[in-house]
């Protein structure tokens, strides 16, 4: 009976998810990244670029996505997909950019999450 207490069982609630084609270890949902937070440079870069495009479109620099794609020299299909990142819900944007939380999904699925109503987006993005 005493033997059972000799064993310590440590449970680390990590999840393995495919992220950008590679498996990635994810911390539990309620984990708050602090000083050692590791912002994902390529997610931030993509969101920054989308926001820059959105700003330029809203400033009236381009009338259509087609014009924007031509100006930045990228395929229209790619531009219109990536541009959607600027239209994520404010909560998700805040957690990604200010909280520097890593999304649990790939950039592609992040783009697709924009189609969901706002209350559902955080669940889709952060798992």
């Amino acid at each position: 009976m005493t033997q059972a207490s000799d064993t310590i069982r440590v449970l680390i609630p990590l999840k393995v998810r495919k992220k950008n084609g590679r498996p990635k270890l994810l911390p539990p949902v309620d984990y708050r990244p602090s000083e050692d937070r590791a912002p994902d440079p390529h997610v931030l870069r993509a969101i920054g670029r989308a926001w820059s495009w959105r700003r330029r479109m809203e400033a009236g620099e381009f009338a259509t996505v087609h014009d924007l794609a031509k100006a930045v020299g990228l395929a229209e299909r790619h531009v219109s997909r990536q541009l959607r990142l600027a239209y994520l819900s404010p909560t998700v944007l805040k957690r990604l950019t200010c909280g520097r939380e890593s999304p649990a999904v790939s950039l592609m699925s992040l783009v697709e999450a924009t189609a969901a109503p706002w209350p559902e987006q955080a669940k889709q993005v952060f798992g």
Binding site: E35, D36, R37, A38, P39, P41, L44, R45, I47, G48, R49, W51, S52, R55, M57, F62, A63, T64, V65, H66, S80, R84, A86, Y87, S89, P90, T91, L93, K94, T97, C98, T114, A115, P117, W118, P119
Partner: protein, 164 residues
Amino acid sequence: MKHDKRMMAQAPGMNAEVDRTVLARLTALKAKSVRELKADWQALFGGGAPNNSRAFLELRIGHRIQELAYGGPDRDTRRMLDLLADEIEGIGRGKNQIVDPRNPVVGTRLVREWNGIEHTVTVMNDGFEWQGRRFRSLSAVAREITGTRWNGYRFFGLREREGA
């Protein structure tokens, strides 16, 4: 305070009535024709729709409906998004928000011998520490050590030489 009112806008889930209305309007978009969506666009944005893509119109109109009901990103978020966008556009304004992928993990110590003295630099969250002082870039540290301008990544051996 202009923005206070916007920030007071109710978040999703705080008012069931608002949530229901918004959800109904979002669902209604799916049943509309592109022509009707363009009419919605005209009403919401006051201008012609930028293209005829159903996906694009649905997304943007849906976003606008929710923005009007719940409010847009708060001031901090907008500021951070603007900083990120500026950085991408190449408008330098103080420290970089996006971490340079060449930087090693935070806390790494870089050791470099220079004129017989070993110098240790610690990688920080937003810069580098050398002899108790904070630097924004490795090049600044290298300049402090050597007195001449160096590419910091090269000085600390983080960039392999061409052809090596």
